[in-house]
Amino acid sequence: ADDVSLQLKWVTQAQFAGYYVALENGFYEEEDLNVTILPGGPDIAPTQVLAGGGADVTVEWMPAALAAREKGLPMVNIAQPFKSSGMMLTCRKDAGIETIDDFAGNTLGVWFFGNEFPFLSWMSQLGLSTDGGESGVEVLRQGFNVDPLLNGQAACISTMTYNEYWQVIDAGLTPDDLVLFKYEDQGVATLEDGLYVLEENLADPAFVDRMERFVRASMRGWKWAEENPEDAAMIVLEYDQTGAQTEQHQIRMMGEVAKLTAGSNGSLDVADYERTVASLLAGGSDPVITEQPEGAWTHAITDAALN
């Protein structure tokens, strides 16, 4: 069997259910692959791991991948299991937020570590400065939890539809207390959770062959997970070594993730790609990327894998 190592963007959770399902159900084995899944963490940059040769393929968000590409690390999107973005800004009504016009003068929680790009380009499209002050917004680097919203340190925080949002709900706030700004609805959605490899590797036919099999099996995993959310969640729990994830949360997460993967067969939708690039380029004075990327994606793998 051929070895493939996959670096995840975050800790083991249903966000990555497709890969765990493929592993557990033997889809990889059927493709004659021996897959190792490396969980991520708050200080693990998948891009860096890829650059260092610690993994063959990584799950990454497109803004971070394109930014890395500009840094001289040629990452290429070979598949895009997530069709839509799950990111949103979750705000408290009692902090006085009703519409996007209320942001000015408030504190907003944002993830950094390569996840800040969509937010930054959104703000610059809204014409809000992110250095604090009356006319702009005060940005707080959100940690790993939703506490800033709960104890009032921030008016809004970043959440994923499938994860942090539910933690806010679990903590006792009701949907009535909250206002949600989905990036999809604001027209600033960027592509999340794609599969990326190093460009130089694509010159190697053996590698390309392995990736074709890998993507095929992974997409089988995703489709299986969409159809069997509860079983998929249990499989994820099986692989969670921290032992801290709960069944309820993972099942719920799987349900939400399924909505995001639903529209994708794994092949990158070029229109989505272009929308993402446009959004990142339109960053005003401080855009995330400065020029149109070349060769940042390929359909070669998915075309071969899915036919």
Binding site: G41, Q241, A244
Partner: protein
């Protein structure tokens, strides 16, 4: 044993203070919860309450103060809650034969201990070898010592991700080794400093004595310098093992997130379960206590056999 009563008294004092702090720390969360459940709270609305000091809230909402002691997600859990959580994730699981389950703190403590011991071994070896080099070579003494100090001012958290990337590039699987390296990085310094002191502990007259016997370098190392340094070694080993544990946990905090006590703290933080954080913290404390006590015992035994006074 003479110290038992004072220690218990101080511990008792700490417990009382802790219990007393729980009410003001948790009152806001308790009131928010009660309000959502439909109770009348003065003043209304959590935003209004932010301007009111905790003692006022407690005075105006006496009925809800008690609720602060039973929250699921307290800002400050009670000692009893922490104890229960600890027991649930250790003793109770062990009794059910699930000590090695991923949900058991015993399993995570073991992961942490494992890396700590490797780091400790590595750090101790580096520290002792460095000390020998420093004591026997002037060049090493002059060039290494300042850099050993400087090395400790570098934030290891910043190095952690790089250590992981580099070691995976070198073909090392898993996170155990990178953690052990970080832990060794913190551990070697106290051992080095202690051993340098220890190896230099023999007085000139003791060294001269060996010279009058025309002893060679090995003999003076094994018959004088090494035994003379043992008390220093043990003292610094105790500091070193504690440092190794800190290193492992720091290594697990932002980079591990897979398993180990540091990962439990991180995950506990991410999912807003303070009890998980607190119980992992206490487990780490217990682990540190056990390690230091164990070394203390070894020290007593070894030095006792070497004729140290009881």
């Amino acid at each position: 044993m003479r110290n038992l009563l004072p220690i218990l008294t101080v511990l008792g004092g700490i417990l009382v203070l802790w219990y007393l702090s729980v009410a003001p720390m948790n009152i806001r969360v308790a009131l928010d919860q009660a309000e959502r459940a439909g109770a009348d709270i003065v003043p209304e609305g959590s935003v209004e309450r932010r301007a009111v000091p905790a003692w006022r809230l407690m005075a105006d909402n006496r009925d809800h103060v008690r609720a602060g002691y039973q929250l699921d997600r307290p800002r400050l859990p009670t000692p009893a809650q922490v104890g229960q959580e600890l027991w649930k994730t250790t003793g109770e699981m062990a009794l059910n034969g699930r000590a090695w389950s991923k949900r058991s703190l015993i399993y995570h403590a073991w992961i942490t201990l494992h890396s700590t011991l490797w780091g400790f071994a590595l750090g101790t070896a580096v520290g002792i070898l460095g000390a020998v080099a420093i004591v026997y070579s002037r060049v090493a003494d002059m060039s290494l010592m300042p850099w050993a100090i400087i090395s400790q001012t570098i934030p290891i958290v910043a190095l952690a991700p790089m250590i992981i990337v580099v070691s995976s590039q070198l073909g090392v699987e898993g996170r155990g080794l990178p953690k052990a390296i970080i832990s060794a990085y913190l551990c070697f310094f106290p051992v080095l400093v202690g051993m340098v002191k220890g190896l230099r502990a023999p007085e000139t007259s003791q060294l001269d004595l060996l010279k009058t016997y025309d002893a060679n370098g090995w003999q003076s190392f094994f018959k004088l310098r090494l035994p003379a340094s043992l008390p220093f070694l043990f003292t610094s080993l105790k500091v070193g093992v504690a440092a190794a544990l800190v290193g492992t946990i720091v290594g697990e905090l932002p980079t591990g997130a897979i398993s180990g006590l540091g990962a439990r703290i991180l995950i506990g933080d991410q999912f807003g379960t303070p009890l998980a954080i607190w119980s992992a913290l206490f487990a780490a404390a217990i682990l540190a206590g056990l390690l230091v006590t164990l070394l203390d015992l070894v020290q007593r035994l070894a030095l006792g056999r070497m004729g140290a006074r009881a």
